[in-house]
Symmetry: C2
Subunit: 261 residues, 2 copies
DNA sequence: TTATCCAGTTAACCTAAGATAATGTCGGGT
DNA sequence: ACCCGACATTATCTTAGGTTAACTGGATAA
């Protein structure tokens, strides 16, 4: 059982130690994209049973004993990020429970991009070999995986827009809106609140700002009663205001009627 | 025959009016990712034969008579971009000859992201139905398409890094390095020079800067003899210097030994 | 109990880049 | 030869956000 930084907050997955069946976030997520056959579901569940725990701040690329396939986050926060030679760092994506990332050693191997945990995580790896059974283009699983990849791309485009042409306040607001929708989709939000295991420094390198300016902006968001952020818990006090500020439109996440709050 | 803005420069595709066989940029591009069967190649070529011409500045999403599938650029520059309500605009990706983009009406339909031509283009659409024939996960085509998607994702991550934590000079330098490598891979560069049908305004919304600052930065790059940019032609005068300035590492493009210049 | 560490906060100052707008250049159309 | 529109360039002033560094407070460890 992984020990979380913020055990005080009793994250949902601490209460349900062995996710199986419908509370498996991967199955839940993929079924949002396309209906899965019973065979698909049991395939996924059986591979998730082999998930391993990783401590916070751990590079998932380094132990590359696994062949090509996908890497699935079942609990905790992970991220794609890149270090520059200057020491600067940029987070380019978050992986929250139910998210997966395509793992192609041919592609990942040599780049300076890395995938790491942020908080302690449970992560499963499923080889492409294992997926191949139900991998005709017609099956629901194949379609769901394709959709998952398209949503990931759309999210990246949204992030380019975020750092490319939004103000500090808008960037942070947009990120918070996105994270809430994504976490809510896998049952990790309670109303407008959710656990957010990120430091202000993490936020800064996500959103392309300095620590100090993130701090200032968070205070502004608090002062104007958009959010409440204490400890590692974020509550959105004014969804309409925040999403309006950010021009947040959840369509790119393809989660059905999410975003109607 | 599309009329190009810069006919004065006689782009390669003007000299070879009917790309077929090996000078088809799509086939050339995909074969860089995985070996294709003869059936794969003829399939691709036959669909490229139905390509249509589009003038510059044309939204490719609007005429959505085609079903899901991929959209292939054979000639010209296109881009993904997004308008904000404020009128601001952000380009999130370029599509150059040989590039494709997955077209999923379920996904694209409602988002505010659009795909448009920049210069006049020849573009083919291939339905997913048509691809399904050789779409077992084992075939080369399927693998090449998957790689293509992974490369697109990696490029997007790189762009997030670009706008997230690089200076104006570095951003532009990085973009130029990337474009050169990509165009060179489909034979559209002659040495270190290539046609670049982008205005400074286009560059600005790509790289998250103002028109004016792009202008200043270009002058600096010219003054320091990194580049020569006149008309719509860019020549990199000092590849080592420019790629070093940008910390450009072409690995993410997965083009074999590209970048060794 | 104190020392240490880490995250968060604040303040003073600085700079890269934005905004605006005037001016220049060039090619195309008439 | 003239005008026009699209880009590019330049100058000016303004501002969002960066940098540095000091200080706080809670949590853990010794």
């Amino acid at each position: 059982m992984p020990r979380h930084l913020n055990t005080a907050f009793a994250a949902p997955w601490d209460l349900a130690p062995t996710p199986g069946g419908d509370d498996n976030p991967l199955v839940r997520r993929l079924e949002g994209f396309a209906p899965l056959s019973q065979a698909d579901r049991t395939l996924l569940l059986s591979h998730c049973a082999n998930a391993r725990s990783y401590p916070a701040q751990t590079d998932l690329a380094r132990d590359r004993e696994e062949p090509d396939g996908i890497l699935v986050v079942l609990e905790g926060f992970a991220c794609w990020h890149q270090y520059r030679q200057t020491g600067a760092r940029q987070i380019t994506a978050y992986l929250v429970p139910g998210d997966l990332c395509e793992w192609d050693t041919a592609l990942i191997g040599r780049t300076d991009h890395a995938v790491s945990t942020i908080s302690p995580c449970r992560i499963a790896r499923i080889s492409r070999e294992a997926l191949r059974n139900s991998y005709g283009a017609q099956t629901g699983l194949a379609k769901a995986l394709r959709m998952s990849s398209l949503v990931y791309e759309a999210t990246l485009r949204e992030w380019v827009v975020n750092v490319g042409c939004r103000t500090a306040l808008e960037r942070i607001a947009h990120l918070f809106c996105e994270l809430h929708v994504r976490l809510d989709a896998v049952g990790l939000a309670s109303g407008l609140g959710f656990d957010l295991p990120l430091t202000q420094g993490d936020l800064a390198v996500t959103v392309g700002l300095s620590n100090v300016h993130v701090n200032r902006s968070l205070q502004a968001l608090r002062r104007d009663r958009f959010i409440d952020l204490r400890g590692r818990r974020l509550t959105i006090l004014d969804w309409a205001g925040l999403s309006n500020l950010a021009e947040f439109n959840p369509g790119y996440l393809r989660l059905g009627r999410a975003g109607e709050r």
